[in-house]
């Protein structure tokens, strides 16, 4: 394993210290395990809290700031945070009108956030949970833990965050978060496995000419493997999987994210985005907004995910609303 780190155990605290040093708009409370805006929540503003295992940077800490999250709770690498963190976050950022938990659908995240929500309720903080489950590589059936939450998290946090900033109430903020999740679907392909600091070696072996289809963002193997193929073919089958589930055919406009998993350079992401845009154009779908870059990563995994969100005028205007976070910034 070759990584920039001091010890495998200190990666998270060192990285958090680095975030604190780099982003003076953020307050990083290492003891509580909470990254939050340095500024106190405006009285009456609904607060957004998210979190999950670390190793997905800039998710979630990089999305804390005006117009997006109020706080994020980083767990250990690929490990959901503990309820104490979300409780501390909720207490720190509650503006009196309740807190929305944005939770990616993993057993660990769901259970820990559920416990935190109960603890918060005990302390008189009203919590609504928005569960993100956009990954069509997993069938949503009783045979699985349900679709995973991946790229759509960025869309949910951005759009619900914008509505919260505008002063909407708890129910409305949660509702739009759920609406964005419903309108979004993702699929990811890995060219290499990733290496967690604790494990020290790649999570799976992948021959030099094979790729892993339908991976998540925790280094777990995907649904199957296949031979490496041209970007056009990989994108075509990925988009088939996405479009099959999300009834985008009749969608006039979409927001698209082509997201790098950590080890894939931007030049390749643009190649992928080009294929996505061409394919959607051929279907008569307009890419109204887009993101191309590393937003939801899986440590050093080479690979990419594609997320498509059906967007109406309201979602687009919330998307365009000002945002000022380490990883997403415009209008401010």
């Amino acid at each position: 394993m070759k990584k920039f780190l001091n010890t495998p155990e200190s990666v998270l605290s060192d990285a958090l210290a680095g975030m604190a040093a780099a982003h003076l708009d953020l307050h990083v409370d290492q003891d509580a395990g909470v990254i939050r805006r340095a500024e106190q929540t405006r009285i009456g503003k609904v607060a957004l809290v998210s979190g999950g295992g670390s190793g997905h940077e800039p998710l979630h800490g990089g999305f804390v700031g005006t117009g997006m999250l109020d706080a994020a709770c980083p767990g250990e690498v690929f490990t959901s945070p503990v309820p104490d963190q979300m409780l501390a976050a909720a207490k720190a950022v509650d503006g009196g009108n309740g807190v929305v938990f944005v939770v990616k659908n993993y057993t660990g995240d769901v259970l820990n956030f559920r416990m935190a929500a109960e603890l918060a309720a005990d302390e008189g903080i009203e919590v609504q949970t928005v569960l993100v489950d956009d990954d069509v590589a997993v069938q949503d059936s009783t045979w699985t833990a349900g679709r995973r939450g991946t790229g759509a998290t960025v869309f949910v946090e951005k759009i619900a965050g914008a509505l919260a900033e505008q002063g909407a109430d708890l129910a409305a903020v949660a509702a739009i978060g759920r609406q964005v999740n419903e309108a979004s679907r993702s699929f990811a392909v890995a060219l290499t496995a990733c290496t967690t600091p604790a494990n020290g070696k790649p999570g799976f072996d992948l021959p030099d000419d094979e790729i892993e289809i339908g991976v998540g963002i925790h280094g777990e193997p995907g649904r199957h493997r296949q031979k490496l193929a041209p970007a056009r073919e990989i994108v075509a089958s990925t988009m088939d999987a996405i479009l099959a589930e999300s009834a985008l055919a009749d969608a006039g406009q979409v927001i698209v994210m082509v997201n790098g998993l950590g080890g894939t350079p931007l030049i390749e992401l643009y190649v992928v985005f080009n294929e996505v845009a061409a394919l959607l154009a051929a279907k008569g779908v307009t890419v109204a907004r887009s993101l191309v870059g590393n937003y939801v990563t899986s440590l050093d995994m080479a690979g990419a995910s594609i997320t498509v969100c059906r967007a109406d005028a309201e979602l687009l205007s919330l998307w365009d609303a000002p945002v000022n976070t380490p990883a997403l910034r415009w209008g401010l």
């Binding site: 490990t79 259970l111 925790h218």
Partner: protein, 207 residues
């Protein structure tokens, strides 16, 4: 089961998790995200440390404390599951120093908590596949007149068998379920850590 013995149990679990950290992580790498060893090690080290300065009045209080500590230190799926199990076990105990049968009731409350929370049934390739047969064996031994040591020994064996028996199963809960049929052929990490927990119990209660 008295307080000292229960302390030893937690201590023994912590040592086992330390020793088997890498194996658990490797099992999790195959069908999960390669953190189960680190998770269990972090949680039970924290529990052992927490107990150093904790003076409970009952085994139940001690187990509840362990559960709370696990919840606050593990995270992941296993944190809430094991944490709730220990808390439920602790809360189910009324006698300060339970006998074997009372202890079984507590262990059962633990399993119930895991199932209530995670909705897994036997065969889903989870903790439950080691935990449930362990309790059956424990109960059987008590029913046929065995003592705590024998019951724990049989439970440990049954948990270990149960963990092995997860190999041919397809996961239907947790992260491994994402792999569909590709989860077949690998032993479940959570069932394996459960087997270690029962093995530690057998070790400390065997005179």
């Amino acid at each position: 089961m008295d307080i000292a013995l229960t302390r030893h149990w937690v201590q023994a679990i912590a040592e086992a998790m330390d020793e088997h950290k890498d194996r658990l992580t490797q099992l999790d790498a195959a069908i999960g995200d390669a953190d189960h060893g680190a998770n269990m090690h972090r949680g039970f080290s924290a529990a052992a440390t927490a107990l150093e300065t904790f003076q409970p009045e009952s085994v139940g209080q001690l187990l509840t404390k362990v559960g709370t500590t696990l919840i606050s230190s593990i995270g992941g799926a296993s944190g809430p599951l094991y944490g709730s199990a220990f808390r439920a076990a602790g809360k189910a105990l009324t006698a300060p120093e339970p006998d074997a049968a009372q202890f079984l009731v507590a262990l059962r409350a633990g399993l119930a908590a895991i199932q209530a929370m995670g909705a897994a049934v036997p065969g889903d390739k989870t903790i439950v596949d080691a935990y449930a047969p362990a309790l059956d064996a424990f109960a059987e031994e008590l029913d046929s007149g065995g003592d705590l040591a024998h019951a724990a020994a049989r439970a440990a064996k049954a948990a270990d068998d149960g963990a092995h028996a997860t190999i041919p199963l397809q996961a239907r809960k947790g992260r491994a379920s994402y792999l569909g049929p590709r989860s077949i052929g690998h032993q479940d990490p959570g069932a394996t850590s459960t087997a270690l927990i029962f093995e530690a119990l057998a070790k400390v209660v065997t005179p």
